[in-house]
């Protein structure tokens, strides 16, 4: 397993071994699952309450399916650790946070200074993703 380099959670790290989505839906005692780009994250929705860790794999960072998987899980109320793993790049970290990822396990460790800048770079955002708790620009323009 690749080490978690950045984590934005206060609870204890989850180190349960992750199983595939098909293994997870067939066995009832697993608490960690690994979602590959071609997996349908919606298959996990009936059993979100027993999950402590979802690893979303990025074999290649230019395959963006994992972004949708992350948002779908968060939109459905998943509150456990959502970990991006694999070919992660500095410049996408912020956007991954916005999609609900709160742990990052890059295959090759990233420069921590560059990563810190990237996580904090965007003070404002245009969209409401409904999963990162950030107020979009339009909401700031029109306070309720």
């Amino acid at each position: 397993m690749v080490d978690v380099q950045f984590r934005f959670r206060d609870d204890d790290a989850v180190n349960d071994p992750a199983v595939t989505v098909s293994a997870f839906t067939e066995q009832s005692n697993a608490t960690a699952v690994r979602v590959e780009p071609g997996d349908d994250a919606r298959e996990l929705l009936p059993s979100l309450d027993r999950l402590a860790l979802v690893e979303v794999a990025f074999p290649n960072w230019t395959d963006g399916r994992g972004y949708s998987s992350a948002r779908i899980l968060r939109e459905a109320g998943y509150t456990g650790e959502l970990r991006a793993t694999g070919d992660l790049v500095i410049d996408m970290l912020h956007h991954m946070r916005r999609c609900g990822f709160d742990a990052f396990a890059p295959e090759k460790p990233l420069n921590p200074d560059d990563a810190k800048v990237a996580f904090e770079r965007w003070e404002n955002v245009y969209q409401a993703t409904a999963v990162d708790g950030r107020q979009p620009i339009w909401a700031k323009r029109h306070p309720a």
């Binding site: 939109e75 956007h95 999609c99």
Partner: protein
């Protein structure tokens, strides 16, 4: 015109800083070219045959004179004194140095411009009708909706690495001047019988090696759900679009392979779910944006017409009849500047020409200009009484070619002269055709004829949608050109058919001439080339070309 507030300005400024940092890491060797490429592409920076090319976004083709002048200055400061307006209503600079690009982007940011998402597998610049806000036939000005989509799609966290690029157009009239049905998503604003405004969604159009006309996905999405519906459309594409083959990765292939109904079912389910999420900006935001797009203060005296004495100038009369279009406001006209001088490079303008057009917009068109997908420039609001003065200034700068929508008004991609993807040159073919048919007499005889040239099957020159289309291919190491007839991009969108075996450069110009001769010999009444072709079919053309 839209004006940035502090938030918008901060977003583009932040992007400049981010890009500056990426270039620094690239030059320091922290990023390999392979790693850097997808990042620079999201900033519109390509590595072409000879140099870097920077593509600057012109959102929905609208810009003010300050912005236009800045585009001219950038051409001088960072390029070789000219720019190339593109079929996506953007501008490209072909001779950019990598270490200059952060400064060029910073200069752009000062005039509320950027190169965000002008390339890469993300949602690209939103395009629209170049006559928006000026044409009489629109149900609403489409630009506020395009601006709403621009903000939604800029740095959209889920949609930055889609299977492939994604192009959206928004129009608001029956007549389609933006090739809406050749976009990944085409939106037409419509009014219901009850008078409510909504969005008609079309999906899966596009050119490239497998051209498709977009299919209608929804007749009417309520306007306060438009962003959410677009989000559903793109999410389904992001999840299910093919990623195994870049030539089959556009949404058109997904819609084709799944079938429209299956795709629509997925979108409906996703849309129903996303409506439960707080995604849609409030109508107050749309209203705020609409406040920037109110009519300019038109002069109220009506009946202002072109002075009959001015019409006596035959060159002006040609231009007036060919390059102007009716305005919704009495006494005003829409004036088109053709960037297709005879023998010129389609879409190119020098920095001096760009600055002149900026000045003229300030003097004659309420500070506004538009870029068209046919690579021309529009002054949207000109007093008819001012048209002669405007024309004289354009004429002195070689910007008065009276050939809008005629055979000389060629759309062409940069081709093998600049582009690393091209198989054949486009520009010399365009120049030869323009020289052969460009005279005023020929053009008057031939009338409306949309001719489009692409230097490879990626179809940036829209050859599928040309009444006459020319496609450059590589045939055993030699440039070869296929001829297509019968394409169109308007409300009557159709895809051109290949005539038969290809030609060399001169051969395709000759074949074009033969096709035009067949048209002229068979033309009935006021028929355009396209009408005659549709009536008599391919056979007589084939016979004349190959017989």
């Amino acid at each position: 015109m839209y004006k940035y507030d502090d938030y918008d300005q901060q977003m583009v400024d932040t992007r400049v800083e981010e890009f500056r940092d990426q270039v620094r890491r690239r030059l320091a060797g922290e990023l390999t070219e392979d790693q850097f490429k997808p990042l620079r592409l999201q900033n519109g920076l390509y590595l072409q045959l000879h140099a870097y090319m920077l593509r600057v976004a012109i959102p929905y083709g609208t810009l003010n004179s300050t912005q236009m002048a800045a585009l001219g200055d950038i051409a001088d400061k960072y390029d070789r004194g000219y720019g190339h307006f593109t079929t996506r209503t953007n501008i490209q600079y072909n001779w950019i140095k990598l270490d200059d690009t952060p400064d060029a982007l910073a200069d752009l940011a000062k005039v509320e411009m950027h190169a965000i998402q002008t390339s890469g597998n993300c949602i690209r610049n939103i395009s629209s009708d170049q006559y928006a806000g000026a044409a009489a036939d629109e149900v609403a000005d489409p630009r506020p909706y395009a601006e709403l989509l621009r903000q939604w799609s800029s740095f959209h966290p889920e949609f930055l690495v889609l299977p492939r690029k994604f192009k959206i157009a928004v129009i608001a009239s029956e007549i389609d001047r933006a090739a809406m049905r050749l976009h990944d998503i085409g939106i037409r604003l419509v009014r219901s019988d009850a008078g409510e405004l909504g969005a008609e969604f079309h999906v899966g159009g596009g050119m490239g090696r497998t051209p498709f006309i977009a299919k209608k996905l929804r007749d009417f999405v309520p306007i306060d759900q438009m962003i959410t519906f677009a989000e559903a459309c793109v999410r389904v594409y992001n999840r299910y679009g093919r990623r195994d083959n870049k030539y089959k990765a556009r949404i058109k292939i997904l819609v084709h392979e799944l079938g429209l109904e299956a795709y629509a079912r997925e979108v409906d389910a996703e849309f129903a779910h996303l409506l439960t999420q707080p995604i849609e900006p409030p109508l107050a935001e749309l209203k705020r944006i609409q406040g920037f797009f109110t009519d300019p203060p038109f002069a109220q005296e009506t009946g202002g017409e072109v002075d009959p004495d001015d019409r006596d100038d035959p060159d002006f009369r040609l231009w007036l009849d060919r390059n102007t279009y009716p305005h919704k406001q009495p006494g005003y006209a829409i004036a088109n500047v053709s960037l297709k001088p005879i023998g010129g490079i389609p879409g190119d303008a020098t920095s001096d020409q760009i600055r002149l057009m900026a000045d003229l917009a300030r003097e004659y068109s309420f500070d506004e200009l538009r870029v068209t997908h046919a690579q021309n420039i529009v002054f949207p609001h000109v007093k008819k009484r001012d048209l002669y003065a405007l024309w004289q200034r354009l004429d002195a700068a070689d910007l008065s070619t009276p050939n809008l929508d005629t055979v000389g008004d060629i759309i062409a991609c940069p081709g093998l002269d600049y582009c690393a993807l091209a198989n054949a040159r486009s520009i010399p073919v365009a120049q030869k055709i323009s020289e052969r048919f460009g005279s005023a007499e020929k053009q008057a005889e031939i009338g409306e004829l949309k001719l489009k040239i692409s230097g490879c099957i990626n179809a940036c020159g829209h050859h599928h949608a040309g009444h006459i289309g020319i496609l450059g291919v590589d045939k055993k190491g030699k440039e070869n050109y296929q001829l297509l007839l019968g394409g169109s991009e308007g409300a009557d969108t159709s895809l051109g058919q290949i005539t038969g075996p290809g030609f060399d450069e001169d051969g395709v110009v000759d074949a074009t001439e033969k096709a035009i001769e067949v048209y002229l010999a068979n033309k009935q009444g006021e028929e355009r080339f396209l009408d005659t072709y549709r009536r008599i079919g391919m056979a007589p053309f084939k016979e004349a070309i190959y017989g």
